[in-house]
């Protein structure tokens, strides 16, 4: 669970961030009252930290078709995995 990770919703096919929030202390971010439509979920990797990476986003496509629409998305962040050979080749300080 990581707080302070910036999550955005952009219009599909663009890089225009329409809405953005940061995760709370529980690692959650909640968008409410969004206009109906399609969005693409993006994570600002600059806010993730220098030792962990975004490893998986279960779905980046947010679809809101009516006022009751709700979607829950999971973003998994963690330390990068490497083989021993890969780890041996990493620069010192890589965590």
């Amino acid at each position: 669970v990581l707080a302070g990770i910036k999550v955005g919703l952009v219009a599909p096919g663009t890089t225009d961030t329409l809405f953005a929030k940061s995760t709370d202390a529980s690692g959650n971010v909640i968008f409410t009252g969004l206009p109906l439509g399609d969005y693409t979920l993006v994570v600002d990797t600059n806010t993730v930290g220098d030792s962990v990476t975004v490893q998986k986003i279960d779905s980046t496509h947010v679809v809101l078709r009516n006022n009751a629409s709700q979607q829950q998305m999971f973003v998994r962040v963690g330390f990068p995995s490497a083989t021993v050979t890969e780890a041996r080749a990493l620069p010192a300080g890589t965590g």
Binding site: F79, A82, V84, T85, A87, R88, A89, A92
Partner: protein
């Protein structure tokens, strides 16, 4: 960074608090290693979270946190001459488990950083050996003969072969 592999040693059996882990292609030394959960044993499948650092010119995983998740037999060692072992073949086998056959103890040196050390040579060139304290050779044991009869210094080796033996 997280790596997966097999433990080659227990944790903190050496005076410098290091341990070694390997996967199918390479090995790496762990420094300042601690376990998350039960203490891992040689052969255990582990996941290691650590920070890449350098020690004696070779990469290591520092502040390594080791999580063992499955027990297993130790991996087979790499056959090497003492000359090859001296440089770990230019680092290619750094931190690896190696088997030195027909190596003769050359010198019996003082304890260094809590570890008993001695050098062995199979005729190709010598290499310093640091046995696991209290297991392969007791640091408190009396000095080895200055010039013993040929002694095979063997590491535990699965399958046919000389198996495990200690100098003496």
């Amino acid at each position: 960074v997280i790596v997966k592999g097999l433990m080659l040693t227990n944790l903190n059996v050496f005076g410098d608090s290091t341990a070694n882990v390997t996967d199918v292609a390479a090995a790496i030394r762990l420094t300042n290693a601690t376990s998350v959960g039960p203490q891992p044993s040689p052969g255990d499948s582990v996941r290691v979270l650590g920070t890449v650092a350098t020690r004696a010119g070779q990469p290591v995983l520092d502040s390594a946190r080791v999580t063992a998740f499955q027990a297993g037999p130790p991996p087979a060692p790499v056959d090497q001459t003492t000359l090859q072992a001296n440089t770990a073949e230019g680092g290619a086998h750094d931190a690896a488990l190696v088997f030195l056959n027909n190596a003769v103890i050359q010198t019996d040196t003082a304890t260094v950083n809590g570890d008993y050390t001695f050098s062995v040579d199979d005729g190709s060139g010598s290499v310093k050996v640091v046995p696991r304290s209290g297991r392969d050779l007791s640091p408190s044991a009396s000095s080895l003969p200055a010039r013993p009869s040929p002694v095979v210094v063997s590491w535990c080796r699965p399958g046919p072969g000389p198996g495990c033996s200690s100098p003496g």
